[in-house]
Symmetry: C2
Subunit: 487 residues, 2 copies
Amino acid sequence: MSSHPLEELFHPQSIAVVGASPTPESQGYSYTDALIKAGFRGAIYPVNPKYQEILGLKAYAKVSDIPGPVDYVISSVPAPQVPAMIEDCGGKGVKVIHLYTARFSETGRKEAIELEREVLRLARKHGIRLIGPNCMGLYYPKQGIAFWANAVQTTGPVGLISQSGQMVGEITGTAALRGVYFSKAISYGNAIDLNECDYLEYLSQDPDTEIILMYVEGLRNGRKFFDILRRTTPHKPVIILKGGRGRAGARATASHTASLAGSTQMWKTALAQAGGVSADSVAELIDLAVAFRFLPPLVGKRVAVGGGAGGASVVAADECEEAGLDVAPLSDEFREDLKRRGISIWDWIGNPADMSIREDRAFSIGDLFALLAPRPDYDLLILQMGGGPPGRGRWYVSVDDYLKQYKLDEIRIKPLLAVLADQAVNSDNYDDESMKLVYELRKRLPQLGIPFYPTVGRAAKAASKMVDYYQRRNGVAIHKSLSTAIA
Amino acid sequence: MSSHPLEELFHPQSIAVVGASPTPESQGYSYTDALIKAGFRGAIYPVNPKYQEILGLKAYAKVSDIPGPVDYVISSVPAPQVPAMIEDCGGKGVKVIHLYTARFSETGRKEAIELEREVLRLARKHGIRLIGPNCMGLYYPKQGIAFWANAVQTTGPVGLISQSGQMVGEITGTAALRGVYFSKAISYGNAIDLNECDYLEYLSQDPDTEIILMYVEGLRNGRKFFDILRRTTPHKPVIILKGGRGRAGARATASHTASLAGSTQMWKTALAQAGGVSADSVAELIDLAVAFRFLPPLVGKRVAVGGGAGGASVVAADECEEAGLDVAPLSDEFREDLKRRGISIWDWIGNPADMSIREDRAFSIGDLFALLAPRPDYDLLILQMGGGPPGRGRWYVSVDDYLKQYKLDEIRIKPLLAVLADQAVNSDNYDDESMKLVYELRKRLPQLGIPFYPTVGRAAKAASKMVDYYQRRNGVAIHKSLSTAIA
C-alpha cells in the first residue's frame, strides 16, 4: 500500500465547502452539487453563515461549528476571508484545504502576493496542507469526488496532474469519448504548498494509476521534479503538455498561475533525459493517453497501413513517414503468398494498401491484414476505417455487420490502431440513423480494446512517440542489468 | 465570358454512362443514380447491352445507338473494352470521355501501360478529350453533375482540382459542415490528356470560382503548371496539398495515379515562388478554404485572443506564436481605457484574455473585444467559444441567446475567427438537447459569415498563412505598379 502523505489527504471522510451557496451560478453551489452528484459517501458540510440549508444539506456558519471531524475543506470564499477561515480550521483538525479561491500572486498585485504569503504561513502554523490556491481541485471518481456536475463517473488507469482546472474537465471529458477513464485528476493552480513534485510522486506510487498525464505551466521545484520523473518513467509513462512555450504564453502563465515558464529548449532536453513523453497540444496529450491505454508496449516502427482509397493512402504514407514511422514496402515473400492465393492485385497492392483497386470485392482489408499480421514484417497496423458506416450506409445495418469485414480478432495479434474520420460524426444529418451507428462504433472500438484516431497522422504520431518511450525504457532496463552484471 | 475549352466540355447537354447497371453495388449504377439525384437537366443515357432500362431510363447497347447527340461520356467498362468504346464514340460527335475505368499505367504492368497509350491515341484520332483515366470525374452542383448520391447540392465560390476522387467527396463534404461550398470539383486521376494545367487555367478564368483548392500527387507538365499558377495567384488564392512527400508516399502516388511525386523541397520552393499557399494535410486544406471564404484580406499578424479560461489561454498563446502570429500585449492606453470604465481587472487581464478571472460576470469577452475592435492595435481577433452551449447548458436556451454575449456585430469590424471545440459535438450524449444546440451553432456561424475552427492552433495557422498570401500578393502588386511607373 502507498504510504504517500497525499493518500490520506485524498481519502477524506468528510468535506466542508466554505462559501457554499444555493445560487446555481456560484462556484460554492457547483462544488456542493458536484460532490452530491458524484456520490461522495462521506459527510458533506456546506458552510455559509447566511443559510440554514443548502441543496438539502444542513449549512454551518463556520467550519468550527460543524459537529463531527472535518478532513478536507474546499474554499470558495473571497481571498481576504481566507486567513480567518484557516485560523478557524486550525482548531478543527482539518488536514487539507483546497483553495478554489483565487486573486493571489497570479494578479501580479503587491497586496495579493503578500496575502498569499500570509495564507501559506497560517496553514503551516496549523499543520494544514494546501491545494492551490486558484485551482479547481480534486477529481477522484472512485471516491465520489468531482468539481463539476457532469463529471464522468467511470474510473480507469490514467492519472492527470494539471495546473489548469478547465483542462481537467476538457481532458477527462474528451478522453472518455475515446474510452479512456481516470483514476484521479488534480488541478493544482499556484501550488504554494503541495506542488507538482508531491502530485507526481503520489501518482507514481498509486496502484490505481498506470499512465500519468500532466499539464504544467511552470515548476516550483525543477530539480526535484525531474528527479521524481526520472524514477517514475521506467515503470509508468508520464506524458506532459507544457504550457507557456513562447513569450506570450509565458506572460499568460504568470497571470494564470503565477508560474515562471522557463526556457522551452531547456525544458525539452530535461524532459527527454528524464524519459518523459512530450505532447504538443491537448489533442496530442489525449492521443498519447489513448495509445498507452490500449496498446501493448510497441517495440518497432515498421507500420502497415490500409483500408483507404488512393488519395487517402498517399496521404497516409506521408503522414506516417513524417511521424517517424517506417512504411516499409510489402516483402516479395508476402507478394508470392498473395499470388499463390489467387489475389489478382498481388503485384500492384502496396503499403499503404489502397483497397479501392481490388477486383475481387470479397477480398477485404481484413483479409489482407489477417495474412500480414502473423508475419514478422511489421511492428504495428493502422487500419483506415474512413468515416465508418455512413459513407456506405446502404451496405451495413449494424456495427457488428460493419466490423466483420475487418476481421479484428485475427488482425489484432499485432498492435492495431484504427482511424475513424471525424467527418462522419460531424455530419449535419443529425437525425440520420447512420450517425447513430457511428456513435455506436466509437463506443464499441474502445470496448474491444482498440484505440481510434481521427486521422492517420495523429495515430502515427502517437504510435511513434510510444515506440520512442519503450525503446528508451528498454534501453534503460538493459543498461541497468548491465551495470548490475558488471557490479 | 470564359472561352476556355473546358467551359464547353463541362456544360454538356447530354451524358451517356457506359457500363451503367441496375446493380446498386456497381459504379455504373452509382454514376447514373448520382446524376439523377443531383438533378442533371440534360439527357442521361445509360449504356449497357444487357438491359432495356436502368433506373427508369431507357438503356442503349452502345453510344452510337443513342438517337440524339451525346456530349459527355462516363466510362465504367473494364479497361480492355475502352478502345472499342472510343471508336464507337468517334462517329457520334462525343466531345469528352471521362474514364472512371482504371487499371492502366497505375498498375505498373506493361500491357496496361501500352493499353493506356492506345486509348490516348484513339481519342486524339477522333478529337475526343479525356478526363482521367482512373478518376471519379466532375462534380458541378449548379449543372446537376455529381458522382456520388449524397453530394452537397449547394454551390459556392470554391473550386477543387484533385487527383483523388475520394478526396473530392471528403473535402466537399467536410467543408460543407463549415459552410464552404463549391463551384466545381474535378477528380482527374492519371491525366493522360487533360491535366492539372488545363484544370487550373480553367478555374483561374472561371467567374464562379474565387478560391482554388488542389490535391496533387505529381505534375504532368511542371513548367507550364507553375507558369499558370504564377499568373493565377495575384487574383485568386490557390491552396495546394501535395501528396507523395516522402519515399512511401512517392511509391503510393505511382500505384495510385502513376504520378512521379518529385522532390518535396523543389516543390515547396516552386510553390512559394509562384505565390501558392501550401497545406500540410486535408484538414489544413479545408481550414484555409474556410479562412479565404469568410475573411477579408488579412493584412497583419497582430492577434488578440480571448474567451477561454486560464489553461486554454496559455495554450492559445503558444499555438498562435507557433503559427507565426504576434500575440502582442494589451497597450497601456487600452488598459487606461478599461480602468476609466471601472473594469476591476484592467491591470491583470492580458492577451490572450482569460475571462475566468473577471469579477464582474456581466463583463464578457464580447464587451472586451467590442472595446478593442475599433482600435488599431490588432489585425485580427480569435474568439474562443469553447464547446458552445453544452458546457454551460443551464445558462442558455437558444443559439441566439448564447451568441448575444459575444456582441458579434460590434467585434466583427475586425477580421474574426471563432473557435468551437470538437469535443462538444462529439459528446456521447447523443440525445441531449444541448448537442442539437451545438449543431445549430455550427450552422449559424457560417451563415453569419464567421469561420470557425476546432482549436486555436488551427485558426491561427490558417490566418497566418492567409496573411503571408496577401502580403506577397500586395508586394507583387506594388512591384508591378513600380515597374509600370518606371516604364
